[in-house]
Assembly symmetry: C2
Homo-oligomer: 285 residues x 2
Amino acid sequence: MASTPASARNAPVAGAALAELSPDTTGMAYIPPARARALFRKGTVAPTAGWSAGFAQANLIAVPSDWAYDVLLFAQRNERACPVLDVTDPGLARTELAPGADLRTDLPAYRIWRDGSLVDEPGEVGRYWRPDLVAFLIGSSFTFEAALRTAGLPLRHVEEGRNVPMYVTTHPCRPAGRLRGPLVVTMRPIPSDLVATAVRVTAAMPDAHGAPVAVGNPEALGIADLGRPDFGDAVTIREDEVPVFWACGTTPQAAVMSSCPPFAITHAPGHMFVTDIPDTAYRYT
Amino acid sequence: MASTPASARNAPVAGAALAELSPDTTGMAYIPPARARALFRKGTVAPTAGWSAGFAQANLIAVPSDWAYDVLLFAQRNERACPVLDVTDPGLARTELAPGADLRTDLPAYRIWRDGSLVDEPGEVGRYWRPDLVAFLIGSSFTFEAALRTAGLPLRHVEEGRNVPMYVTTHPCRPAGRLRGPLVVTMRPIPSDLVATAVRVTAAMPDAHGAPVAVGNPEALGIADLGRPDFGDAVTIREDEVPVFWACGTTPQAAVMSSCPPFAITHAPGHMFVTDIPDTAYRYT
């Protein structure tokens, strides 16, 4: 023990020395963010997990400006689920997170909401955009996945070519103005001997949802069946693995469904905005 | 080198083994937050650095509700200076950060602003409170001072019984709505061999302003004379020490002075709200 170097004893890469890196099944791990966005603009539709590794990704929610304070306050009061990375001025579809990007076209898939109901899931939203829309870009757990992968952790949804599984929990968010709704979480199966590494890697990245909200015990979150996620796809959980749950940027969509603002545009769950910001900019240590 | 245990090589307590702990000159380091607030409510006026060590402190800014979105957006866009810990609903003077506290009476000193001008500096603000006020509680660098002290770092302003020195820089904040203004920073003199420790300790606490915005070179921030702070008091900088600058929660007050909202209530610089939240709740690793 005394002769084990500190780097192997404590560093997040502990697992990497023992395990193969989780495979790059998308083939998109090393394309620059601008190239990813160009593919989505041209019509490619895919979950963005595993794309442009090392760059931050973001959830999108755009609402009429008279709902903007409610959304921003909801995000502040529930920042584990809703870490705000940028907010646009009304009508603008540009963000400092990727100056060349257009928020109306550069995500792989969107959702259109009227009075809390999903009415369309288009590939671009130019025809839906309004001059009073304020867009919120909210941190994504996909941002910490490159660091998890480097640390030797499996990313089962990427391995299996699926969207990450997301579950609507029975845990209520703290309400804000007219917005209320339940916490949504993502789940990743983690081998029991790597759970601590997963906690440490993600805890340092609160703008990507930070540390898990729960490790094991899905019942405590009100999740009855891990095989039936509310968004995304089920993934295989192996014998030696524990389900680990992180707060999810789909939470604002659940609030839209519960609170029924007259109009909202969001990304489709798992289909994020790929930014130009390196994930290291969101790592606090 | 190889025989040095990891804990001494890398841990934030490195300095503590070599140096005396910075003295508790206030005599208030170990009183509970509720007791500190009771003293302030009864009329004690003092900077809160060194009070109730181990509990988070917060800056206060309250504005009429029609300015609340501007303040919240300004905070989001300048979160190094303005990490929001809580936002009240209009008119309420209570916060989840200290359920028993009254924001109108429990800080040691307040400032009243009309059209960007300071018009009063009372010990309580009951007569100024309005039903449309929204109060923002913003993280304070005093929150990380207990961790700095435990790590063996000097807290010169506490040692010398002064308020922390604060400087208005020439660095503009990112504007938000009607709010704009310069970044304000605090300065602590740090021995050169402990600067890295100061960075590591504070980087893990972004809700207390996180890592320094600059180490040395005050001219780059537009600070001409460290002996003449814009708020607080000058402190001694010793031969072997480097001035280290952190973003400061007085930044919203500078925005009030620049942007002239019709009315605002803030804390007096350095005279914070002492919360019931342990500082560990804001430590990300």
